[in-house]
Amino acid sequence: MKPERVVEIAVQVSMGNNDSFAEIVEEYQDFVYNFSLRLTGNREWAWDLTSDVFMRVLAKLDKYSPEYPFKSWIGRVTYTLGLNFIRKNKRSVQLESLGGEINFEVPDKSETPDIETDRRMTVEQVNQAIHELKPDFKAIINICDIEEMSYKEAADILKIPLGTVRSRLFRARAELKEILNGTKKD
């Protein structure tokens, strides 16, 4: 969504036309929900967090500056609220299987059902491995590798320098591989 359009919606919201906000929800609900799901590892919490993020965005929409990409801005809100959420709930966070709602590429038609099953299992393992990462590693993996956003966007969302984006992503991938390959030292 172009920043100018966001500003138009902000004006409408300021005039009491909250209905216009639906366009933003429609456009970014997948992004926010997926990010929330990665951070919390729990569907119910991801639902709640997503809802809270959009309410915060609604409340702060007049603060949005069109010089920044809106996706980065809303990503920043998600990350900020997500970290607070984790902090408040960290003792009760439970790992939940995410396998049922993740997407993956359509398998090659030549693949047998066994191969497809193996792919599903692998995806499930990757999901669980991501969940074992600490929050800033989850976030960087989600932004750069799952959402395939740029380093610059990651830097904007996480409020870290580009150099730190690179180093953090490197370490996050390395740890993810260690978990998946069973070589991680406790």
Binding site: D19, A22, L37, M55, A59, L162, T164, L176, L180
Partner: protein, 249 residues
């Protein structure tokens, strides 16, 4: 992971991650919109007082407030002059390697954030001290790096922060640590090369006070608590945060 015969490398891991994004479940949008439709923006009390007090009255209050806070911190401790603090220099510290490795690296960011030379990135975090370059510091995990330091809200020892030193935005930051002596703190801060000796002061209790500016975004994550004071040691039940930061505005 048990039973996983597949070995992951950079390539197949990236391929696997690509496209793993979850879709928002059905009903989420309508649920959000239900909340949106009943939302009414909250007005600050000052909004309602404005017509009564008038702009002039508000301006008067602001002028008085600025006078008060520019001459002393909220705890009554005088704020030192910072006329000599270099403007627009930025310190950026990344301690995210600390928890695992027991060490962390700090770097002073160059004005050009695109810079990828030694001084940035993972090469620093896990390499030998000799490769760190002049701007970086190695220290034990439990040693907090000076400047503005805070516990990450997730409770990990990972801390990313930015400190902007500007005359016009200076604030007083008190670093409280009973665990390290003055020379230690001074060494770290001096190494970082942006906060020079005259601005490192100790109070009667041996606490360090450094005049720096706060890069607002760096504390945005603490929005629940950032008001006139930032104080986070009690939340640090993981990692080794052994200090307290108070920001006096």
């Amino acid at each position: 992971m048990e039973g996983n015969m597949r070995q992951f490398n950079d390539e197949n891991l990236k391929n696997m991650l690509r496209g793993m994004g979850a879709k928002a479940p059905d009903g989420l949008k309508s649920s959000i919109m239900q909340r949106v439709m009943v939302y009414k923006p909250r007005r600050s009390p000052i909004f309602w007082l404005m017509p009564a007090t008038g702009v002039l009255g508000l301006a008067l209050v602001l002028v008085i407030s600025m006078g008060v806070f520019s001459s002393s911190g909220s705890n009554g401790v005088p704020v030192a002059s910072n006329d000599n603090i270099p403007a627009a220099e930025i310190l950026t510290m990344d301690t995210s390697g600390g928890e695992e490795s027991g060490i962390f690296a700090a770097r002073a960011a160059l004005p050009d954030e695109e810079d990828t030379s030694a001084g940035n990135g993972m090469e620093l975090a896990e390499s030998e001290p000799s490769t760190l370059g002049a701007k970086a510091v190695y220290a034990r995990e439990e040693v907090p790096i000076g400047g503005v330091v805070a516990t990450s809200p997730s409770g990990y020892s990972t801390v990313n922060l930015s400190t902007k030193i500007q005359n016009s935005q200076s604030q007083t930051v008190m670093l409280l640590s009973g665990l390290h002596d003055n020379d230690h703190w001074k060494g770290i801060l001096t190494e970082l090369d942006k906060i020079s000796d005259p601005f490192i002061r100790t109070d009667n209790y041996g606490n360090f006070m450094v005049d720096v500016g706060i890069f607002e975004e760096s504390i945005e994550i603490f929005d629940e608590k950032v008001s006139s004071q930032l104080c986070y040691p009690e939340d640090a039940d993981q990692g080794s945060v052994l200090f307290r930061v108070q920001v006096y505005k």
